[in-house]
């Protein structure tokens, strides 16, 4: 049986958990530490926490808050938001973060990936790419929480990131974010067939049934936001995670 990592992605704004739809309208969910404590009990595979306003506000990662969250995270913990240099990465490692999520810095400073991968290993560097379709249906990468377009064509961009030494790609569909429409399977297929490193698919998950098609289209791991913080598309707040036996029967044993 092959296990696939199923990863909640939590977005942070001013130390509070929020959830967006198509990267807009952040809605308050709760306290990140409480959420992480609940995710511990649910035995989640891994957790990604993204500070979605750090880069916009041109500030550093909020180390105090991150340390507090990390001290409660007994699962692999990836952090992203506002990371621009190697000293920050080193500092974050010392706080107990295993993986660094780089996004907005990639276009202008791919060398940071190289440098960080050399020191800390590729396995600890996750490149996060936010993707949106343009009016012609063509996929385009974005940075700074989806606000700024990246000039390179998507495939060229991700190949550069792979060459620089990133360990994985977190591919987030802006169009599907918070929509419960299922993953963008074409996007997953396109990206995973262009690079050799593992793809973490994110954006659009509605339920456990969304996972299998994404994996079959090339995702090596699965991430989701709304589905793990809401009870369903009615969006009642409830931190949740599939039961292990359901993941085994509905996902792992189907692979």
């Amino acid at each position: 049986m092959r296990r696939i990592r199923i990863i909640p992605v939590l977005t942070l704004q001013n130390e509070k958990l929020v959830k967006t739809i198509r990267f807009k309208n952040p809605t308050y969910i709760g306290d990140p530490i409480n959420a992480v404590k609940i995710f511990n009990e649910k035995e989640v595979d891994e957790i990604v926490i993204l500070d979605i306003t750090a880069t916009k506000e041109k500030r550093e990662p909020n180390y105090a808050k991150i340390e507090e969250i990390a001290s409660e995270a007994f699962m692999p913990f990836a952090y992203g938001g506002g990371i621009t240099n190697i000293h920050q990465i080193e500092k974050l490692f010392k706080l107990g973060i295993e993986k660094m999520v780089l996004n907005s810095i990639l276009e202008t400073n791919m060398d940071l990936v190289k440098e960080a991968a050399k020191i800390f290993g590729s396995q600890s560097i996750v490149a996060s790419i936010d993707v949106k379709k343009n009016v012609f249906g063509k996929e385009q990468a974005y940075k700074i929480s989806g606000s700024t377009k990246i000039n390179l064509p998507l495939v060229e961009y991700i190949k550069q990131i792979e060459d620089a030494g990133a360990g994985e790609l977190l591919i987030n569909s802006i169009d599907r974010d918070g929509t419960y429409q299922g993953y963008d399977l074409e996007l997953i297929k396109q990206v995973s067939s262009s690079v050799h490193i593992p793809i973490i698919a994110c954006g659009g998950a509605a339920s456990i049934d969304s996972f299998l098609p994404a994996i079959q289209h090339g995702a090596s791991a699965i991430a989701a936001g709304s589905m793990f913080v809401y009870t369903g598309s009615t969006r009642g707040i409830l931190i949740n995670y599939p039961k292990q036996e359901d993941l085994v029967s509905k996902v792992y044993k189907q692979l």
């Binding site: 092959r2 990592r5 001290s71 007994f74 699962m75 107990g96 800390f120 396995q123 090596s220």
Partner: protein
Amino acid sequence: MITIINYNAGNIKSIQNMLKRIGAKSCISGDAKEIEQAEKLILPGVGHFDYGMRNLQESSLIDVLNKKVLLDKTTLLGICLGAQLLGNRSEEGVEAGLGWIDMDVVKFDENKLPKNLKIPHMSWNEIMIKKQSNLLEGLTNESRFYFVHSYRLKCNNENDILATTNSGYEFTSAVEKENIFGVQFHPEKSHKYGMRLLENFVNV
């Protein structure tokens, strides 16, 4: 008191966080004199084999560790790279390992893996327990742990194998020889399973 060895090659804080959670006292030290006094030792580690060995050499810790582990028989747990360093050598580099357990560290054979399994092996996985051990008390073959590694342990003496794991093919995921334990996975990031393992280590 458990001393977590600081040689600038490991995610020390996560280990300390979990020890704190289970109520075990720990300290972090890269100082030979302090390590000399340790009741129990954890050798963490993330990264390249040679980088790990060179850091141990540069921190002048190898003599004191040899004394503690081989003469004083202090209980030691190696985690991830820390487990690999217990062996003779690694295909990853050229440096000699600590040589406390007769094993080599070899790369995963990609030709033997199914196409959809990538290296590094970064995944949760079960263990298959091969011998009875205090370290695995209360854990079963259903217990899951988090792995992230590209190289694996290969014991020359089957008696040293404590557990194996299957990821494409079966490999050694935990070793035990007298007072020395090594785990390829990360107990500090493996929820209640890792907590139990570290509790067992505290109580050994």
